[in-house]
């Protein structure tokens, strides 16, 4: 029982991050048929921008603080939400830049130049980040403290609950926007048929730009969410983005709800297998992904064939 709760909570927490990033992949894929392969770097840069914001706020509050090991008070009060907001907004702007220079020139054309150009953009962003922040991991305090809470014997970190709550709220909110608002319906129209969408008077190019901004914003917030429970270095995003991408593929890249399910499934699986054997974790996960794709090439909830990219 205790271990089950343990596995569930940590699986749902990391799964929440995977689901959030998986959805961010789906947002650009459905609207532009392209993916941001710099998403991992965006997650890491989002985390470091957030930490920098926490550091600045702590310095403004007075006293000497170390960037590499911020005191718990640095995340208290409104500091953490403010840092998340900044990370999200800056990353959203970075997404606009990425689309303009690395995606737009290649989107909708034959070939996969956008794969290389987004990877390249990510490497540039990561290198700039390394020049600013260095390669060492930093210690990021959770806004609700880092003391482990005991629930029926299982140890739960407050940040895990926070991740789950924020990720679920963000995803529910986005789902509402996509289905219930004018802009959301327009975005789904662009995803379904860009030409027909432009016949509605929808500015398709602007929608695609918006999709990249939104996707990158989610990466930024996801980065700061996961930083307190991860070893927060500039290399933090790579593994997360790969798992999130796997979750998106398993769930069906063209189905945002499927991506969310895939992300959570991957998180739970990862935390379940890790309980049994940490070394086997990645092996089991990726074997399962291969099996799922062999049986259902478009993912569990996907409709469209991926080779249409």
């Amino acid at each position: 029982m205790t271990t089950l709760i343990q596995v569930l909570v940590s699986g749902l927490a990391i799964g929440g991050v995977y689901a959030l990033i998986a959805m961010s992949f789906s947002i650009t894929f459905t609207t532009t048929k392209t993916l941001n392969f710099a998403q991992g770097e965006f997650v890491a840069v989002g985390a470091f921008l957030g930490v920098t914001m926490l550091y600045v706020l702590a310095r403004m509050g007075g006293g000497e603080v170390s960037f590499a090991s911020l005191p718990p008070a640095a995340s208290a009060g409104l500091n953490y939400p403010a840092a998340a907001l900044v990370a999200g907004l800056v990353l959203g702007a970075l997404g606009l830049l990425l689309f303009a220079v690395a995606v737009r020139p290649f989107a909708g054309k034959a070939g996969m130049n956008w794969v290389m150009s987004t990877i390249g953009f990510g490497i540039i962003v990561q290198s700039l980040g390394l020049a600013v922040w260095g390669p060492a991991p930093v210690n990021v305090p959770s806004p609700f403290g880092d003391d482990v809470i005991r629930v029926a014997g299982a140890g739960i970190r407050p940040q895990e609950i926070l991740i789950l709550v924020v990720a679920v709220l963000l995803m529910l909110g986005l789902d509402r926007v996509m289905r219930g608002t004018r802009i959301g319906k327009a975005m789904r129209a662009v995803a379904a048929n860009p030409q027909a969408a432009s016949l509605m008077g929808i500015n398709v190019a602007a929608m695609m730009l918006g999709a990249y901004a939104l996707s990158s914003l989610l990466a930024g917030i996801g980065g700061l969410l996961v930083a307190p429970i991860a070893s927060a270095s500039l290399f933090l995003g790579m593994g997360i983005a790969l798992k999130a991408f796997s979750g998106a593929i398993v769930g069906g890249l063209d189905n945002p709800r499927g991506c969310i399910a895939g992300g959570f499934a991957l998180g739970l699986l990862e935390s379940g297998v890790a309980l049994w054997s940490a070394e086997w974790r990645e092996i089991v996960i990726f074997l399962l992904i291969i099996v799922v794709l062999a049986v259902r090439p478009n993912g569990l909830f996907g409709a469209r064939s991926l080779d249409k990219v």
Partner: protein, 252 residues
């Protein structure tokens, strides 16, 4: 069905649409060569011709989905040749595209709402505009909350036309409204087009079913391999022996 808002008065003899010497190509392959045509206000103009004659390509150029290789397109006297597609909708041109192209996973009501996307209507005005379409095609009202993908072909065609009308156009482009539909359903659709004509709507109709199109049109153009080979009054073309043998043969 009320008549949509009338264009700001310029001059009675300025046609709604003028296509001047327009050529279009897919890469090196010419699809339309030096086509000129004019759609007077309040008229129904038909473009007939065989599959692959360039009819749909021409409509794509008129609504901005395809750049012209040469020539000019004027809407109500204003040059729109370089205007992006989404702005032509705001300017007053709406297309019901070939193959319907409704948004499959969205409801009938949401499809209609998207049709009026560029107008920025208030909730009340949106509801009123939608009711107008429901009065025009009562079948759509019954299906309003169903996903468009669940509609029959005829219902999807009604939705595509209504969705275009939701934009409040002063020029309605209809691309192959009969495509893939049963004869009885085609009759329904053409009766609806006649009602729009009687309401004063300016319509450019592209149609393979020449007899139907010519019967409803004031004027018509025959397009063959990207060129206008014949034009005249719809009724006259309908009686033209050449047309009868080429387009109104046994298949129709």
């Amino acid at each position: 069905m009320t008549v949509p808002s009338i264009a700001p008065f310029r001059s009675a003899d300025v046609p709604a649409l003028e296509v001047e010497d327009v050529s279009l190509a897919y890469g090196p392959i010419a699809a339309v060569s030096g086509v000129s045509l004019s759609v007077p206000r309040g008229a129904v103009v038909a473009i007939v011709g065989a599959n692959g004659a360039g009819k749909t390509t021409l409509l794509k150029a008129i609504c901005g989905l395809m750049p012209v290789a040469s020539g000019r397109i004027r809407f109500e006297g204003r040059d729109i040749t370089a205007m992006p597609a989404h702005r032509r909708v705001t300017a007053g041109i709406a297309l019901s595209p070939e193959g319907r192209q409704v948004f499959p996973d969205q409801s009938v009501a949401d499809n209609l709402e998207l049709g009026a996307y560029a107008r920025g209507l208030s909730a009340e005005a949106m509801a009123a505009a939608m009711e107008e379409q429901f009065a025009f095609f009562p079948r759509l009202k019954e299906r309003r909350n169903q996903a468009a993908v669940t509609l029959s072909g005829g219902e999807q065609q009604m939705l595509a036309i209504s969705r275009a009308l939701m934009a409040g156009p002063r020029l309605l482009l209809l691309d192959e409204p009969s495509l893939g539909l049963a004869p009885l359903v085609i009759n329904d659709i053409f009766r609806a087009i006649a009602r729009l004509r009687d309401g004063g709507m300016t319509i450019l109709l592209v149609e393979q079913m020449a007899n139907l199109a010519l019967a409803i049109a004031d004027t018509a153009y025959v397009l063959e391999t990207g060129r206008v080979t014949l034009s005249g009054r719809g009724q006259d073309l309908l009686r033209d022996p050449q047309i009868r043998s080429a387009y109104l043969g046994s298949g129709h």
